[in-house]
Symmetry: C2
Subunit: 305 residues, 2 copies
DNA sequence: CGATCTTACGGGATTCGTAAACATA
DNA sequence: TATGTTTACGAATCCCGTAAGATCG
């Protein structure tokens, strides 16, 4: 039967502060009798008098004096917690933590985040730029709410929202013979010196596995850790390469030329990965919404035209 | 309109803990629909969903996850505060601070506190053994709730509850001529060497002022700080003295003989001093009650018979 | 189909506000 | 006497519980 009400606490604090029932009425939006009853009830709950009422003057009992700061603190805590939640839901504050594979994080993601920040400037966004496999791991164990990466396949605890197809495109320098072609085959591309990524990236593994499967041999003449270095090497004429279509923009900026790659066309769906049965925060939800809404535009941006 | 309820918080915590509405019902003694409504209302108040309900499984939203420990803490604080108050009023805990003039603190007070402690063993009692004037000061400025001392006279912020009359009695050694008298006059007593208190006690001042007023001269042959020393000196035959009737017991224990003093009879009311308009704690209230109830017995104890 | 949450609605308790009574300075 | 609190009572509100509906596994 131990049941007190926040309203009673508010009433108590108001009376204690104003030292008057009448004045406290205004603060708690109650009539005198109602307030009187509320205090009376509270006193019954706590087992004794909190005020000494002499119809003329009000004084806190020593017990009330002890209780006053405590009640104040409780109400303060409630208010703070409520404000915090309100702001969080209104996205006047909050935080989204997401993971994205490097090719996406360095290409399309910044624009999306910019778009998001325009709408919700008070929500902080943290990006984990990790390889595709780690993106999946970080989502699965809850380190991030949202991941952007390749379709992780069948994980029964994950949800995948496809955004666009990422495929490999050939990267050659402008004077290269293949640059005049509309599209090139892997066979033709690999006749030149091939520059590849050295990092434990799924990109390289994917290329090698697929090509080996088709009986083609890859002879990487150069290896590097950075995508930017590939671009530079290609432009310098050291060789050719193949990169995810996500990186077309970057390659072009560096002066390299991208062409469609066929036989085979290597493509994988890129999308948003979230955890099943773990709802997103409103902040994360709206980020996902923005990314989804931009799916068409993203698809365009990885086109060669 | 920012109004949440502790009941709602309890409901929220229960659901969050059990991960199920049905199970939480038992904990909060509510039907499922009622609980559902309570959560719904809470979510409206905070501005967003705290749970993700899929009719089959319940999961906290990230916002709910943030809120959970906060809500828990608030409820915990409420419980603690309520328990504390309950115990205080039930006097299973608490504290009384009082001040008493030395003559009372060293004579009758210990017995009274003992009586009190038998009834309320869990309430700690602190005694300030200070001179009569300081007792009044400590009560007035709120350092103590209760004081026992002489009637402080007209203080409009103090309440005085008289207990008994304390008067001066003569103290002589057993072989002293006056010991055979029923009562002695100040005149007769002062013919012998007079031992008096040295401390800034109201006792000495009272004696001197009153006697001077009556044209009598006091020749203190010995001065001491301790009442016990007076007794010892008297018994040793160094002289005679006059002490408050409160100290009769102590004098007798030391082997001295007490006799009524007249011409004049010096007596002042001793009683309980409390602050007006500042209600007592229940603990203090019951101590006062006990002392008041013992008033008659106390009056007897300061009699010579 | 079964388990679980949500919505709908009637009954009941709590609580509110107005008016009158009461108590102190 | 005047101010301010408490008691009395009618009324509105809120909240709960039962029953029916909806949804997911």
């Amino acid at each position: 039967m131990a049941n007190i009400t926040l309203k009673q606490l508010k009433a108590f604090v108001a009376v204690a502060r104003t030292q008057s029932f009448t004045d406290a009425c205004i603060q708690v939006h109650l009539s005198q009798p109602a307030l009187s009853l509320a205090i009376k009830k509270l006193e019954e709950e706590v087992g004794g008098a909190l005020f000494s009422r002499t119809t003329r003057a009000i004084a806190l009992t020593p017990e009330g004096e002890e209780f006053y700061p405590v009640a104040r603190k409780i109400l303060q805590d409630c208010d703070t917690a409520l404000d915090d939640l309100n702001q969080r839901f209104a996205m006047n504050r909050g935080r989204v933590v997401l993971a994205a594979m490097p090719s996406f994080a360095s290409s399309l993601l910044p624009g999306l985040i910019r778009e998001y920040r325009v709408l919700y400037p008070s929500v902080s966004v943290t990006v984990n730029d990790v390889i595709a496999e780690d993106v999946v791991d970080m989502v699965r164990n809850g380190q991030v709410e949202v991941g952007v990466t390749f379709d992780p396949g069948r994980f029964d605890d994950l949800t995948f929202i496809p955004l666009f197809e990422d495929r490999f495109v050939a990267v050659v320098y402008a004077q290269h013979p293949l640059a005049s072609e509309e599209s090139v085959s892997w066979q033709a591309l690999l006749e030149d010196d091939f520059i590849t990524l050295q990092q434990p990236s799924s990109i390289r593994l994917l290329i090698e596995a697929k090509l080996r499967q088709l009986g083609m041999q890859v002879h990487p003449e150069f290896e590097t850790h950075q995508l930017a270095t590939i671009g530079r090497m290609v432009v310098t004429g050291l060789g050719v390469s193949a990169v995810p279509s996500l990186c077309i923009g970057q390659m072009r900026e560096q002066g390299a030329v991208c062409r469609e790659l066929h036989t085979p066309v290597m493509s994988r769906p890129v999308g948003i990965v979230t955890r099943k049965r773990y709802p997103l925060s409103t902040a994360a939800r709206s980020l996902v919404d923005i990314i989804q809404a931009s799916a068409d535009r993203l698809s365009q941006e990885v086109k060669l035209t």
